[in-house]
Structures are given as structure tokens and as C-alpha cells.
Symmetry: C2
Amino acid sequence: MIEIIPIKGLPIIKEGDDLGELICRASEAQGTPIRDGDIIVVTHVVVSRAEGNIVNLDEVEPSPFARTIAEEFNRDPALVEVVLREAKSIIRMGDGHIIAETRHGFICANAGVDRSNVPGERNVAPLPVDPDLSARRIRKRIMELTGREVAVIISDTHGRALRSGEINVAIGVAGINPIKDRRGEKDLFGYTLKVKRTAIADELSSAAELVIGQADEGIPAAIIRGYRYERSEDATAKQLIRPKERSLFI
Amino acid sequence: MIEIIPIKGLPIIKEGDDLGELICRASEAQGTPIRDGDIIVVTHVVVSRAEGNIVNLDEVEPSPFARTIAEEFNRDPALVEVVLREAKSIIRMGDGHIIAETRHGFICANAGVDRSNVPGERNVAPLPVDPDLSARRIRKRIMELTGREVAVIISDTHGRALRSGEINVAIGVAGINPIKDRRGEKDLFGYTLKVKRTAIADELSSAAELVIGQADEGIPAAIIRGYRYERSEDATAKQLIRPKERSLFI
């Protein structure tokens, strides 16, 4: 059996907060202290907040291009400017959406810049600068404090090309191989699986969202317990990016 | 807390089997009888097997087009024929992949035709003819036998346009609204969420896959317990399909 345990009682995260320590303390306080093999899933917005990676739109000077786009799409020019600064390419603009490729290589709406769950009416949260590094830092801290072997995943909410609604996926990982490569394994009837590379870190992020996604309760992190994952010290969420030129669908 | 409970001890499913009854019995036998509010996730291959929706490739006469494609991609002409029969449009062919739109409207590799976990070397499993109906039948049976209110999801493994690896998504639902519409809700800081429609049924399918995806153990179903979902009697997994003409990315 696998358990998905919401980490409740975390304070409002602000710049400089030690997320690893706060997670350990809150887990302990609610009677579910971190155990060996736990996977801790943390939403990117609190990571950006702890890292001080918050942008006040009033302090942003929109470029002429950002102003043009903003007018075209009826958006805030400063927000468009932040999105453009986070992007290394634009995949599509239309219907009020800017789908962009982030500097990390993720393709998502608004280049991952998030407006919700950020304190201050004019503040937005870009993705963490290096989400794998953020995950590694949180993991290191949790392991120092608890002596437990854990994995950490930083998650984000993504739309999909051909399905409605959003799901949560991994944008940073530490201590866990984000892909489970099952090619060569045999199925129930001895048939060798030919194409089966499961995006475990994305499935774990989606599972965690089932307890995290309660805007009113403000739960930014969860423990997934009982899932046996493949450990990896040099894992990166970049393994989850399919190069544009190898896209299966477009 | 949410629990993901593998349903172990199910027999090898064959045509005519009463999946609902077998799931109730196996859950009972392993000490986790079905409870009110449980979500039962079942992989589509066992549903197709129970429904007798299995095709023997030796009995398939490939069309001239299927032969051409098969030669081009070095594939089995009979398999290509089955894929074409399941498809209402082809999205892309290349690199040994046929990405097709199924008659239901799902866009996936090989139009969802599955070769693994099907007994018989020359047998393949297309998707269930009407996965929502399959889900409704299983749900009705479980509710009859247990007197419990449950939801049922039929899941399938899908690749993604722009991410590596596969995840599990919902292709049939019963008793649960597959999308949680949170537009209008307020976040932690009173900011009204503007775009937030969570594809709950897909996240639940991915969560279930964490216990299901063990080819060697052959676990085709799981119970997700403790997630409060929105009940719906007329739900359909078609709500999860984004119309091609409204694709965000292509």
C-alpha cells in the first residue's frame, strides 16, 4: 500500500525560510515523522518564495514587444515581460495563452510564472532558477536533520497538448530516477515489454496533488510513503523533457 | 491521508468474467473490503479481456494500405490493420510510431491497441468499445454487491507530446466528475484562481499506476481511498479530451 500524507501546519513560506527544516518539523508535529524511503513532493511556488524568487510587477519595465503582446491579448504588460524573461522560445500565443519554453526547457503556460499562492497583489512567482538544485538542497537538509534516506520532487501544474484540465508534473528531482525504464521486462504472459518508460516522478507529482490541490487549505507539500523507487544521486527532471524535435505529436 | 491499495490475488481475467464481482472478492480476501467513497481504478486491458474484445492477429486480413504502412515502418501488417480499424484519424506516423485518434477521440500510440498483458502470442487488446459504459457496469456491480457508493475509472498508459515517458490517464469514468473546476476559488492570499481545472481522473489514474505498474506481479486494479471527489452520475471521460482544434500547443 502507498500512502499520500499531506504536510499540514507549515507556516506561510517567506524568503530565507529553511524549507527542509520546516517540512521535518511539520511532519513530526502532525505525527508522521519522515521515514526512510519517503518521497517528499513540494510545489514550486513555495520553493520560489523561500528562495526569494518573487517578482513585483510594479518594478518591472515592460519592453516594447511585451507591451505589444499585452495589448494584443489584453494582459498585464509587466506580467508579459516577466513571462518573456523566463522564456527561451515561444511555442504559441493565442486565446489569451502564452505557451513558452522555459530556460530549463519545460514547455508550459506563461513560462511557469505563477500568480496564485503568492502574497502581495502585484507579486508573481517564476519557476525556481534551478529546480533540481532546489530539490537537492531540500533533500540534503531533510537527510541531515532526520538521518533518513529520502527523495524530493518539486512539482508544477501543467496543461496538456491534447487533454483538458491540468495535472501536476515534476520540474525538479533529487535522489530518485524520474523515469522507470521497463523495456525488456516481461509481462504476465512472458511478452517482453517494448515501449514502457514510466514517468514515475510525474505520476508521483500527480498523486501528491490529490492532497496538495486544496487552495483554501494551503497545503504546499506531501509525503508519499511505501513506493519503492530507484535511487539516483545524479537524477535530473530534464530527463522528463522530450526534445521538441522528437515530439511524437506535433 | 489518501491510500492507494493494490488489489492482489485477482485471477487471470478471461472473456465473460464478472470484473466487478472479482474485484469485490479479491478486496475482501486481502482484508481491504470496498468502502463508501472508494475509487476503483482498473487498467483497460483486463476490461477488454473480460469483454472478449481481443483480436487474434492471425485472423486479420490486412488492407493494402496497412501492408504499405507496415512495410514502411517494419511492423506487423495485421497489427497495423487492427490499429487502423480502431482509428478515426492519424495524427502522425514516424519513428516506428503510429499516433492516432481513436474512435472515442483519444489521441495515443497505436490507437490504444495493446500487446502486453494479453494471453496468446498473436492476441492484442484494443481499447474497450465504450470505456465509460464499461466503468458504469463495473461500478453498478460493485455497488450491488457491497451496498457501497464508489467511483470507477478505466485507465490507460499514454505518452505525452512534449514530455518523456508515459503516465496513466483515464479513458472511462463512472460516478466521478473527472475534472475539478476550481475557477473562482480563492487561493491562500485571496487571489481568485483564473485558470485551474484539475484533471482529477488522470491524476487518480497516475496515482493508481504506482501500485499497478508492476508487470511481473500482474496487478490490474487498485483502490484509492480517502480522496473526496465530486460525484456525478452522467460523467464521461470525454470531458478529458481537448478538441484538436483547441489544442494549446500545436
